[in-house]
């Protein structure tokens, strides 16, 4: 193929540094954008799983008699929770656990401050029933009881993830457009430099597809090569970021070498393929458009 291209004298017709370098830089950015979305999505999924399903109930005056008169308020609340479909594993925090929870806020010996500390019960919430009717039932059993789920937080994280996804999509579009523009400019320069040669070959009966094909082959190889280098260089950077982010994200193993989500490894090879495709399509359009200037 290269030999044939050389016979038409189009071999060196395109700058062989500009395209790989700029397409490489664009690919680097594309990988970072995609990695950001994957990390955000993983984080959101985890929040939706853990936090969204968490139900926290606070019972003030936990040891006072219940409204029904049988047992204390905490017992009454536990009874309601046990009887509510969708709530599993209700568990009252022990004093020691509560101390540990409050210590950062209240200091040592929270109990000694004689503050009226409510009892705290945690449970899993499947989201099947309505939180409003659960609240009503709890309030009847022990007025003043508060119930909170993590759904609100999970929704906020989901919104954040969605906006990150939109930004990443915008970045990918811009990066693709810039890559395409760079390739179009390089192709135009190559065409101008080879104007006479192309006119002669055209006059001898070369098809537009012959000429466009030769330019496109070269652009495809240069863009693909640049993208492999650019995407490859992004990997160590991402590993470094993963190491920084691991303690927060929790999605990555916290011991041993940092690693990247499998989805990212799967997406990585798509970058050079996309770059090569952009190279091919852009060059075909550019060269065929230019050839229309010839009779």
């Amino acid at each position: 193929m290269a030999r044939r291209a050389d016979q038409l004298g189009l071999h060196s017709a395109m700058a062989d540094r500009l395209i790989p370098m700029l397409v490489g830089a664009m690919s680097f950015l594309a990988v970072l954008a995609i990695a950001g979305v994957i990390a955000a999505a993983a984080l959101a999924a985890q929040w939706q799983g853990d936090t969204g399903a968490a139900l926290t109930v606070q019972v003030p005056d936990a040891n006072a008699p219940a409204a029904s008169g049988a047992g204390d308020r905490k017992g009454a609340v536990l009874g309601v929770l046990a009887a509510t479909p969708g709530v599993t594993g209700p568990k009252a925090l022990s004093d020691a656990e509560l101390d540990r929870l409050l210590k950062p806020w209240l200091g040592e010996d929270a109990q000694n401050l004689a503050l009226p500390v409510p009892a705290v019960i945690t449970a899993s919430w499947s989201g099947a029933g309505s939180i409003a009717s659960l609240r009503a039932a709890l309030d009847e059993a022990a007025p003043g009881t508060l119930a909170e789920t993590g759904a609100r937080w999970a929704a906020r994280v989901a919104a954040l993830t969605a906006s990150l996804k939109t930004s990443a999509a915008a970045i990918l579009v811009i990066v693709a457009l810039v890559a395409s523009a760079v390739i179009a400019i390089a192709t135009h320069a190559g065409l101008a430099q080879r104007r006479e040669t192309i006119a002669i070959i055209h006059g001898l009966g070369a098809l537009d597809s012959d000429i466009a094909g030769r330019f496109a082959l070269r652009a495809t190889l240069l863009a693909g090569f640049g993208a492999i280098i650019g995407a490859g260089l992004a990997v160590p950077v991402l590993l470094w970021l993963a190491r920084l982010a691991a303690p927060f994200a929790g999605v990555l193993p916290q011991t041993g070498a940092p690693s990247l989500p499998p989805l990212l490894w799967a997406v990585l090879p798509a970058i050079p393929i996309a770059a090569a495709l952009i190279g091919w399509v852009t060059t075909q359009f550019t060269v065929r458009g230019w050839l229309r200037g010839l009779a």
Binding site: Q7, T197, I200, G205, D208, D210, A295
Partner: protein
Amino acid sequence: MVRFEDVWLKYRRAGEASLVRLTGAGSANAAPPDVVSGVSFEIPDGGFRWLIGASGAGKTSVLKLIYLAERPIRGDIDILGTRVGKLDRRELALLRRRIGVVYQDFRLLPHLSAYDNVALPMRLARRPEAQIKADVTELLRWVGLSEKHQSRPYELSGGEQQRIAIARAVIGRPKLLVADEPTGNLDDEQAERLMLLITALNRLGTTVVVATHNLGLVARYPAPHLEIAGGRLVADG
């Protein structure tokens, strides 16, 4: 067969479209002149025509219309039995492959050897390399440049370049051969050899049009002429 019916040609000026938009119609830019004005003629299959006329008369312009490098602004052209105006780009390219052209300025590819320049039409037609080798070697011997097959055009004299251009024009066994001043850089002996080749091809059925100023040559090879003056056909026969 080559047929022109009331053919007109005007060259577009470079950047004309944008100029017109900037300055508006009817401004200082006069419309470009017609270089071919209402030309009609017919050359039958296997015919031979001299195309003569003073410098700047429009000979090259008429040839460009024949070898499909320009399209007329008006009129109909039939080349090898095909109405040119109806062809799409691909069909035009395929028709060009059946026309051999010797350009006035040779138009060789400077970075290719003499051999590769001559081989170009066969390579575009994707002929097998063995056949290309046989045909190119034979033709280079015929034009007397076997020894120089590896030379680049800039290493060759004007006459040698012209012979390469002629070899390239005939290697595809064209049905129509168009030559623009093909003897311009040749000595008398080379010019005679070239005319022998052209007349031999013509006897084998190739339609031939040769533009020249060289009236001595025209006298030695009597054939019908088309005479151009100021873009108009002033004599046919």
